[in-house]
């Protein structure tokens, strides 16, 4: 079949429409990944950002190491620097994905049954289990940032919402006595509600008064932090009786999240909850009217309002759900690994969540991938510090560098001399001011 020459101009509009559809956020993560890979856009930039950050991180840990600094010759400096940097990354990998020594130990066992019984098989999967455990709160808090992000709001309040959820989960965990399955469910729901209340408050203030959510969430982080300290400072409130430290009593064993693969591995149902939430957020965003409204509000709030959507309702709802997800992260940490609540429980999840959401480009699938990556860094870092004496804070540096480069595609393109791609990174998609 031959195409008449005059048909060519007519073929252009469909191609243009096709391009427009590509830019819409309706695509699934897999499609985005494939297209980006083939076209060399966001995916390439993300990979190159990872590479750049890894190289910079390696240089940093090599040239702050005392053996490198005290090397006698320039050649020795370079070889020792390489040893230190590669040793650091190998240790990170062995602590988070798999360690060849455990495989060797497994094959030295007489039979598979003894290997299973003595925990050698578990030792093989132990790094992966730790990665999943560390990734669980990162994915959940990352979703708590990513969902409002799609509605055009920036949630820095992950920490406060996490604390809200953790308070509820811990309190329901030790102060209430319920049968085995019911208790877990009640605590998880409590965690969601605790975070959702904090998130709802932000959304409500934003919707009613137009106060910028960034400031409100930063302030709420401090409010919740001091509120937790207050709750833990008195034995008539949440502090464990007889304890001189600000810590709650341990939660009942009925409230522990069930372990997935036996008592040797810490991986628990929390990881499945996180994955389910990621799917839920994807479904909400891409398959429901509410999600469509969220995305419309995020794309152009004024247009959404003209189209008859209730922008304020979307703001409140998106922060309520986001807060709930961060609260679930609190419940996952309290019920899955820590079993008590103390002022260290909330760690740096609030900030980590932002890096996870940004690296995941604000998409649920991306958040899971980014959460697993950063979870692996977290899981591998203690072992790395023991083996190579590189401080664990290198992980935070890596995280920040990765996100910095991901957020600035033009910089990566300039470094690697790529041509300008059509799709921008996450940073260039929503540059707007306080007053927007």
């Amino acid at each position: 079949m031959t195409t008449p020459p005059q048909a060519e101009p007519a073929a252009t509009p469909p191609a243009g429409a096709d391009k427009g559809r590509e830019k819409s956020p309706r695509k699934s993560f897999g499609t985005i990944l494939r297209e980006s890979f083939l076209e060399g856009n966001t995916f390439t930039v993300t990979v190159l950002a990872l590479v750049t950050a890894t190289v910079l991180g390696g240089i940093l840990c090599a040239f702050t190491n005392s053996t490198v600094l005290h090397a006698p010759t320039a050649g020795a400096t370079i070889s020792r620097a390489w040893d230190v940097a590669s040793g650091t990354y190998v240790a990170l990998f062995e602590g988070s994905v798999f360690n060849p020594h455990t495989i060797a130990a497994l094959f030295q066992q007489a039979s598979l049954s003894t290997a299973v019984h003595d925990g050698y098989l578990a030792a093989v999967f132990q790094p992966l289990s730790e990665t999943a455990v560390q990734a669980t709160p990162l994915i959940l808090t990352g979703l708590a940032v990513a969902l409002p992000y799609r509605a055009g709001l920036f949630n820095i309040g992950g920490q406060g919402q996490f604390i809200g959820g953790a308070i509820m989960a811990a309190w329901l965990g030790y102060d209430v006595h319920l049968p085995i399955v019911v208790h877990v469910v009640v605590c998880v729901i409590g965690g969601f509600v605790g975070g959702a209340v904090v998130g709802w408050f932000t959304g409500e203030i934003k919707a009613r008064t137009g106060a910028h959510e960034v400031i409100v969430t930063i302030m709420l982080n401090y409010v919740m932090q001091y509120f937790l300290a207050y709750l833990l400072s008195s034995q008539s409130l949440l502090q464990a009786s007889g304890s001189p430290y600000p810590i709650t009593p341990s939660i009942a064993s009925n409230a522990h999240l069930p372990l997935l693969f036996g008592s040797n591995l810490r991986i628990n149902v929390g990881f499945l909850i996180a994955l389910a939430c990621a799917f839920g957020v994807w479904w909400l965003l891409n398959r429901t009217t509410t999600g469509f409204e969220f995305r419309s509000v995020g794309a152009n709030a004024s247009a959404a309002r003209v189209a008859g959507m209730n922008v304020e309702r979307s703001w409140v709802l998106v922060f309520l759900i986001g807060g709930g997800l961060a609260g679930l992260a609190g419940s996952a940490v309290i019920q899955g690994t820590d079993f008590t609540l103390n002022p260290q429980s909330y760690g740096t999840y609030g900030i980590d969540a932002i890096t996870v959401a940004l690296l995941g480009l604000g998409r649920p699938g991306g958040v899971v991938a980014a959460g697993l990556l950063f979870g692996a860094l977290h899981a591998g870092s203690p072992g790395m510090q023991t083996i190579t004496s590189t401080p664990v804070q290198i992980v935070q540096v890596l995280q920040a560098l990765i996100v910095l480069f991901v957020a600035a595609p033009p910089l990566i393109r300039a470094i690697f001399r790529l041509r300008a791609a059509r799709a921008g990174g996450v940073g260039s998609t929503m540059s707007k001011g306080w007053n927007a």
Binding site: P391, V397, G427, K432
Partner: protein, 439 residues
């Protein structure tokens, strides 16, 4: 100034955009008298009824040359009187809203000041009632100023950046890197002044990154600020463990600036010890405050800075180089936050610790917004945050049965209330956070 003179943007004109919820506006209208009434009732019912005995206020530091006699007040009666005054002001405010009375903006601000003052004095009177230790007012005010130095300087940085149209959330990172570099530079060279300079330069190094990514690479500025803070937090934490812990004597052992009493002024009772007997950092804060205030509102630089923050396109049209100016302002402002960070190590503590700034950069950001993007407002708000911290530490040192954590969270709640517009709306420069793309 900048916000009120902004032209009404076209986006605000159509009625269908941003309709004002009516219930909230009524609440906002009566927010001031309601707040006054609540505070007055707390003065009387909470502090007055529970205060027994007399409260002693001391007005001179220990071992002062000229001592001011202590003021002894019956605590309960003080609370009743102050509560009564507050309630009277609430009535006046209500009358002015209902149109029976005209109050100028100055009168309203003075009223708010009196109400807050009455509340704090009642609180202290209740706290000190029956205590043998007098409550030292000079310690409170002196400590407030010193504690607030990083917040004040950070907030000034924020004011310059915001006025130029760049959101600077990286104040926290600037403070932290400033503290780190000042500690190292002073430890290595043995010179406090060199440490101060290095701290300031470290602040502007973060600002260079901020400018590069925000102005040139158009990265979302809120995201960028948070990421830069994470980067600096990780980097300083890493370097602390990697080089400062093993070589602590040579790298993390700085001296600190000693207090220097201003000749003459420093000997005035009450005012002298509070304002004129401190380290170089406090005097630098005065100078910088004056410079920023005069600079922003009385010079050509200030006019241009406000122009690129309000309407960069118009500024560009009349020949102002928007991008170059934003770069310059952000980097110069970074110097100020760097000095604020240096205060942590070579001004007060004397060594660096991980996450030393502990979120004060975020508080500075809140102070800037609280202070309506003006230098004096930002400084006043920063002092409010410092005041609460200092009040809490003094009250806990005289064993007052008050929940220190609840006291510490009050400024954050107040900030939310202010940002929510219950006490007057805050609007920043129009183009803040919007990158300028020269076409």
């Amino acid at each position: 100034m900048t916000s009120s003179s902004a032209p009404a943007a076209p986006a605000r004109l159509p009625v269908l955009l941003a309709p004002e919820p009516s219930g909230t506006s009524r609440l906002r209208r009566f927010a001031a008298p309601i707040t006054y009434t609540v505070l007055g009732l707390v003065d009387i019912l909470v502090f007055g009824l529970r205060a027994h005995g007399s409260a002693t206020f001391a007005f001179s530091p220990q071992f002062a040359k000229i001592s001011v006699p202590n003021l002894v007040l019956p605590a309960a009666a003080t609370c009743y009187v102050l509560g009564g005054i507050t309630l009277a002001l609430a009535v006046l405010r209500l009358l002015s809203i209902l149109g029976r009375l005209t109050l100028g903006p100055v009168a309203r601000r003075v009223m708010l000041g009196v109400v807050l003052f009455a509340f704090v004095v009642s609180l202290i009177a209740w706290a000190d009632a029956g205590q043998s230790i007098p409550f030292n007012v000079v310690n409170l005010l002196q400590g407030t100023l010193n504690v607030s130095i990083p917040i004040m300087l950070g907030a000034l940085t924020g004011v310059i950046c915001s006025t130029s149209g760049v959101i600077n959330i990286a104040i926290e990172g600037q403070l932290l890197l400033g503290a780190f570099c000042a500690a190292i530079a002073t430890s290595v060279t043995g010179s406090l002044w060199l440490g101060l300079v290095c701290g300031a330069l470290a602040g502007s190094l973060v600002a260079v990154l901020l400018g590069l990514f925000a102005v040139s690479y158009l990265v979302d500025q809120v995201v960028l600020g948070v990421v830069l803070n994470t980067l600096v937090l990780g980097l300083t934490g890493y370097l602390y463990n990697a080089i400062m812990v093993p070589y602590g004597d040579t790298l993390n052992n700085p001296m600190t600036f000693t207090a220097w009493k201003f000749p003459g002024l420093g000997d005035i009772p009450i005012i002298g010890p509070v304002f004129f007997d401190s380290t170089i950092f406090l005097y630098l804060t005065y100078i910088l405050l004056a410079l920023v205030q005069i600079g922003l509102f009385r010079t050509r630089w200030g006019l241009r800075t406000r122009a690129i923050g309000e309407h960069p396109l118009a500024a560009d049209t009349v020949g102002i180089r928007v991008i170059a100016m934003r770069y310059r302002n952000v980097i110069v402002a970074g110097l100020i936050a760097g000095i604020g960070g240096a205060y942590f190590t070579i001004g007060s503590v004397g060594s660096f610790g991980p996450n030393m700034s502990s979120g004060e950069g975020y508080i500075a950001l809140a102070a800037m917004i609280f202070g309506r993007y003006t230098p004096f407002g930002a400084i006043a708000a920063a002092l409010l945050f410092g005041f609460t911290t200092q009040l809490q530490s003094i009250l806990s040192s005289i064993n007052v049965p008050i929940q220190s954590n609840l006291l510490l969270l009050t400024p954050y709640v107040v900030t939310i209330i202010v940002v929510a517009g219950l006490v007057g709306r805050v609007r920043g420069p129009r183009a803040e956070g919007v990158p300028f793309i020269k076409s």
